[in-house]
Symmetry: C2
Subunit: 328 residues, 2 copies
């Protein structure tokens, strides 16, 4: 591609525009680019990236937690797309640690994967720049990268949390607690913003004591949920920030005598068989994985247009727990 | 180690015996070996394996299904042991396909992992012999390898299924169905054998129509469960061969008007919050992973004794579904 640009006397961006049939290139320039392409035998599928020495037909996936079932369908979908492209998938986990993410990503690059799909733990991905320049394709999923531009596929966490909270408000709740993941995690922050927005839109105040962000281990979530349900003015409803939080909240609520409404972010196995069945804001983890993998293979096939950001909609599934009336 | 053997004029096996303090080496030979070790500065932790060129401080784990939550705590435990040894963990999935297992294992070896933990999909692992000879440490977990000898950690599937079936018999059941995984999978066959043994020990016949083995996708399991519960003489209890089977059986039973007893092999998240709570024969997947990883690092530290086979006990957890009386 660089050779084409040099021969035609234009920038890489212009070559990319012509190759991808985008607007904004004069007929004369387009002609020169096409001539250079013909002269150099450049074809879209034979770009510099595709011809990178030692293509290994393997891609890497960096998760943040091996034990979170949310990532199971995501990983499997990535695997299926990789398989359809004749590529092997290699996984690793950052265990939500930015240093480990970087170590793992670089270890996979050193092992010559053609591309990487990353669920980021960190918020500075400039360490990837040399790898990207060396031809490694990268896409991010579930959370956006920090300080670099790359393809990314997200769920609309803000809108999902807003809709879930509005659902509780519509069922008469005024004091609604929010138990979420650590605040430096983008999705946790976005979901909290969605909750706050829904409350503000309904003209409801948010008491500082109703919001609890932190690690999602059962001990912390249990203690915080019990705290929110105690005192003279306990909350009558809870919004749980992800599936790990929800399964612990469900346990706490099962031991309560009064009914407490619950909406959880993320669907989870058997949610519909609990009593009451759990109302959730469902993401589509398989589609997240599939889209991220498709964006990656698009890059590996030589497509060189600007990074894309996809936001997949969430879906409120009303099952019972989110429709309970306020009870004190 | 080869240098020690050559210098002492003995075989590798003899060096290994001396290093590991085993019997069967004459005092004279032992003296020569120890002299050679001292001369060469050989220490147990600096064995040929440890000194293999290009140690990468990484190990691989080959799962059979990324989407089975049973493997989540197993993977995480392997990761924790790896981390404690300063090693990185790289995963992949065979998707229960022997060819893919082999492809993935060899791809990981080509990427120079120091060792591999494998949940086998296939039953012939002789393809690993050259890798083992080249110094790659291998341990198997959840299922034994085929046609090679290696460290392996299993749950006692036979005894667990026997105990679970005997539990149903003790609660008055005579017609007990068995829905399990594909018969060529060792654990599936062992669990079926445990079921048959418990029935035989109680002097109960097993009607061929009560046993259903095959893929654990929801469609097949649902159809087979409905079949077992239909007809003039339906079963009054079910033994489910693994957690993927159990969650589908639970769905079918939730739609039944009569009570059907259920014991499932494998514990699973929220089993205790269902109604009735589900009685299970629990494995300890974290301990399986931990033990397999510890065996692996033992090999990487140079221990060269004969392969070990560990069988971890299962644990019956009575919660309600397995204690229902027969009802027609």
């Amino acid at each position: 591609m660089k050779d084409v640009a040099a021969r035609a006397g234009v920038g890489l961006k212009t070559v990319s525009r012509v190759v991808n049939g985008e607007e904004g290139v004069s007929a004369d320039t387009e002609h020169r680019v096409r001539e250079a392409i013909t002269a150099l035998g450049f074809r879209r599928n034979d770009s510099a990236r595709t011809l990178r020495k030692g293509r290994t037909a393997s891609i890497g996936l960096v998760l943040e937690d091996l034990a979170d079932p949310f990532y199971a369908p995501l990983s499997r979908a990535v695997e299926e797309v990789a398989r359809a492209h004749g590529a092997l998938l290699i996984n690793g986990s950052s265990a939500e640690d930015p240093d480990r993410e970087r170590e793992l990503v670089l270890a996979l690059c050193a092992r010559r994967v053609d591309g990487l799909i990353i669920i980021p733990a960190g918020d500075d991905h400039r360490y990837l720049t040399p790898e990207i320049e060396a031809g490694v394709a990268i896409s991010f999923v579930d959370r956006a990268p920090g300080l670099i531009d790359a393809d990314v596929v997200l769920s609309d966490s803000f809108e999902g949390a807003r809709e879930g909270t509005a659902h509780l408000i519509a069922h008469g709740h005024r004091r609604i607690g929010f138990v979420g993941d650590q605040p430096q995690i983008q999705t946790a922050a976005e979901r909290l913003r969605g909750y706050r927005t829904a409350m503000a839109e309904a003209g409801l105040p948010v008491d500082g004591s109703w919001v609890s962000l932190g690690p999602t281990n059962p001990e912390r979530v249990r203690a915080e949920t019990v705290r929110l349900l105690s005192g003279p003015e306990p909350v009558t409803a809870l919004f749980a920030g992800n599936n790990r939080v929800t399964v612990t909240v469900v346990r706490v609520l099962a031991a309560q005598t009064r009914g407490v409404a619950l909406v959880g972010f993320d669907d989870f196995e058997l949610a519909d068989l609990l009593s009451p069945p759990v109302t959730v804001v469902a993401q589509d983890p398989a589609q997240l994985g599939r889209s991220a993998a498709e964006l990656l293979f698009r890059r590996l096939e030589g497509v060189d247009d600007p990074p894309r950001q996809l936001a997949l909609p969430t879906r409120l599934i009303a099952r019972g727990s989110g429709e309970l009336p306020p009870e004190v």
